[in-house]
């Protein structure tokens, strides 16, 4: 178990490192190895997706079951990094990079600092009553069944067969400075407000 806990982040980092090789957006030939991706998305994409999904759901489940807040933060890293991997698979390169930098790099460190600053021992445990766990589990399971039923049975009116353009980075930059300029500027003001507010609230008298 301890070995698994240590190995999981390393495996996730390795997966993230090799992810862009699988996220190539058309059926390119990887000339060095002579590997041809099949035109229908291919086995590798499916394999990467299932590995990502397993890591996301496995570490999510571990967060649910773990009682130790530091372990929960480590498992959260697994979830966030494999969600970033999923973004690469979904051709959202920029979002994947931002996910890694902001979430896995920034927010998670902030959470761990929060844990260290707010407990006498970082291994402090908070016990939950058994019947509370059962009630929460039943409610969440029912909610999951409902959502899954809707998601699987719904017919989404999608524009299929549209051409996938190469990188979305250009579209991203143009979008942020044209259609989304106002929300973008509002976001920068919000970040300033949050920075001042957080520094004010966390100050020492």
């Amino acid at each position: 178990m301890k070995l698994l806990t240590l190995a999981a982040p390393i495996i996730v980092v390795m997966l993230v490192a090799i992810a862009p090789a699988f996220a190539v957006d058309t059926d390119l030939t990887l000339s060095e190895q002579g590997i041809q991706r099949s035109a229908d998305g291919g086995l590798l994409e499916a394999l990467m997706f299932y590995v990502c999904a397993a890591v996301v759901l496995g570490s999510g489940l571990a967060i649910c079951l773990s009682k130790n807040i530091v372990r929960m933060a480590v498992y959260l890293f697994g979830t966030l990094a494999s969600v970033a991997l999923m973004y690469f698979l979904l051709l959202a390169n920029f979002i994947g990079v931002i996910q890694l930098i902001v979430y896995a790099g920034g927010t998670l460190i902030l959470l761990i600092f929060g844990v260290m600053l707010t407990s006498k021992s970082p291994w402090a445990k908070f016990d939950v009553k058994r019947n509370e766990l059962i009630a929460a589990g039943v409610v969440c399971a029912l909610f999951a069944c409902l959502l899954l039923f809707v998601v699987v049975n719904a017919e989404w009116p999608l524009e299929t067969d549209a051409v996938v353009v190469g990188s979305s980075m250009t579209q991203f930059g143009v979008g942020l400075l044209t259609n989304y300029l106002v929300p973008f500027e509002a976001m920068s003001v919000l970040l300033l407000v949050v920075m001042i507010g957080a520094a004010y609230m966390a100050r020492q008298e």
Binding site: D40, G41, I95, G106, T107, V128, G137, F172, L190, A198
Partner: protein, 104 residues
């Protein structure tokens, strides 16, 4: 089996979302609740990016929206950690059940 479609991603996002809600309900530690919120936001974000991908990628509105979600989540985490530190300073614990000073 090998054709990965929109539904695959939606199922993963749904399960992550529900697990986040479970964490928010069951954890007593304020930082644990924050971790649950992050999971919920990530589940929603997978939805945004997946719909953007399988709707043809003729625009990237979904990706830009998910960028805003990420920025808001980072801001929320910074403020929430500051609030947790104040909570700890006043009550000497981060067990949210002790934050009932205003209860009648």
């Amino acid at each position: 089996m090998f054709e990965i479609g929109l539904t695959h991603y939606l199922v993963v996002a749904t399960l992550l979302f529900v697990m986040g809600i479970f964490v928010m309900i069951t954890k007593r530690n304020a930082i644990g609740i924050l971790i649950g919120v992050e999971m919920v936001l990530n589940g929603a974000n997978i939805n945004l990016v997946a719909f953007n991908r399988y709707n043809g990628m003729s625009n990237i509105d979904g990706q830009i929206t998910s960028l805003f979600v990420i920025v808001l989540a980072a801001a929320e985490a910074a403020l929430a950690v500051a609030i947790c530190m104040n909570f700890y300073k006043n009550l000497n614990t981060v067990d949210v059940d002790h934050g009932d000073t205003l209860a009648g």
